[in-house]
Symmetry: C2
Subunit: 339 residues, 2 copies
Amino acid sequence: MAGAATYHRDVPVTSDVSSTVCVVTGGLGFIGSNLCHELVRQGATVRVVDALVDGLGGDRRNLAGLDVDVLEAEIDDPGVADAIAGADLIFNLAGQVSHTASMRDPLRDLHLNTITHVSFLEMVRHVNPGARIVHTSTRQVYGRPLRLPVDELHPTHPMDVNGVAKLAGEQLHLVYHTAHDLATTSLRLTNVYGPRQRLTSDELGFLPVFMRKALLGEQIRIFGDGGQRRDCLFVSDVVDALLVATAPEAVGRVFNVGHVIDHSLAEIAEAMVEVTGSTGGVQLVPWPNEDQRIDIGSFHTDGTTIAETLGWKAATTLDDGLQATVTFYRGHPWYLSST
Amino acid sequence: MAGAATYHRDVPVTSDVSSTVCVVTGGLGFIGSNLCHELVRQGATVRVVDALVDGLGGDRRNLAGLDVDVLEAEIDDPGVADAIAGADLIFNLAGQVSHTASMRDPLRDLHLNTITHVSFLEMVRHVNPGARIVHTSTRQVYGRPLRLPVDELHPTHPMDVNGVAKLAGEQLHLVYHTAHDLATTSLRLTNVYGPRQRLTSDELGFLPVFMRKALLGEQIRIFGDGGQRRDCLFVSDVVDALLVATAPEAVGRVFNVGHVIDHSLAEIAEAMVEVTGSTGGVQLVPWPNEDQRIDIGSFHTDGTTIAETLGWKAATTLDDGLQATVTFYRGHPWYLSST
């Protein structure tokens, strides 16, 4: 990936969505709401479908003041057909992201990440087969990497039910392209942070937990030696990736979406302490047995395919992204107390 | 795979099951019933769980005269817990195998190949966590091969809902090993033929359709130029593979199960015409558009991993297997008229 470390974009990354009608499923959630804000800013008409499923990231306040239609429904609800009809772009972000919740209630995870998506795709197929569909998958589909960085041809061996269910959801989108000619794309996202992420759950990934602790001045605890590495994405970069993924060249394909720079968990935690000025510090603690079993070690995304095909790469450094994130939450303190 | 083409087995392939209690889900179906016959022959106590789902391969006559307990239930039925309790070996073969049926009714396929398996694994986990579990997956999880032969590290890009659902089912078995320490193994089977296969459906693969046509003296029709290649497995070889897969070295792993010799579809059809003496012959016909979309071209299994790990390779040539198959159906003519 030539010049990747400089964060320069090779081509303009944002498609023109100004005159489009867009559906965003999961639009009240973390990534979905940030996408809605950007779509509205660019002049798109936005319809949100979100079930506000208990325990997930959805909250009506994420779209406060924004001129969008919100349908509170699961994506397989028959009423969703009306939202889909006439849409140009469908961003299918609805789903459950928690590893731990998926192990506690596997059937619920499969319902939210796989089963409802089949019904949704069937609905798109019958109501609006010409729509452009971008789905969000996850790097969890790879499981424990056999090699680093991880490209799209790396075998997929998910370590938890969530990874299994997301992979099935992603593959169903591609099957509906191959078999039924729907214009689908799926993006395998690495760990994402930024504004409008639910901070008060301990089950939505380590980044929002670390961020909450740092903002509250509490100690950040890291399992193991803190040397595990991750490439983290600022949510605005993900929004850019979702927009460029509507390009015709992306139809029928899966792309990794990650960052060229990776950091150890200890570095990420220390950066949060630094940016927030937290006095809670960072502590290394032994792995709980159950969590260690499904841990995947270090991960680093190989983003060559999306860079070469669509000209996208992450533009935001960890320090810049964390600074913007902290500024946002200091201006929106309810994220720290909401349940 | 040294000496593979000679079909010699490097090590004895059959584990001693004489004093075991075995559960076979899908035990009234094609592969399941052949497994039951072999288990009983070796002295095992066999409990069958089979829902006799309409359109699949299950038929009580497949086990006629055999001393086994049969529970007619889906594998997620709470009553299955009693069958699982105290079992040494669980062969989890229940599922739906039809590409076309999965595209017609995707939710049903996901129910039969994925969702019910989660509930089944949860039941095993709570009732009999020490049982040895062997699950059957399919080469369909690979989709259209990027290279031949196809080993277990080849990317999985299923081309139909059935492939997606079977892959999820397989991965769930492995997640329950990693996370919950169940002793699971999954076998990715290539195309299988032999006694006790349902011949009267056109949706259970090309091999039973070809066999029915040849036995009835009807013309065998092949889509395309007949040059597409497949490695076909005689069902007794699959039964052997299921038994050797109970070895401790196989726990937590996925293995390809195929044949070292592949043949073109035209060769396979001609061999059936030859063995049966059919006067119907073979005709090449153009692809129906919908089928061609999800066709995967040629496939050839790389079986090196199971050969090196468990000493298994297919022992039966296509000619020998077809001869045994024809002899069986000539002695059991109801397979040609049953619906």
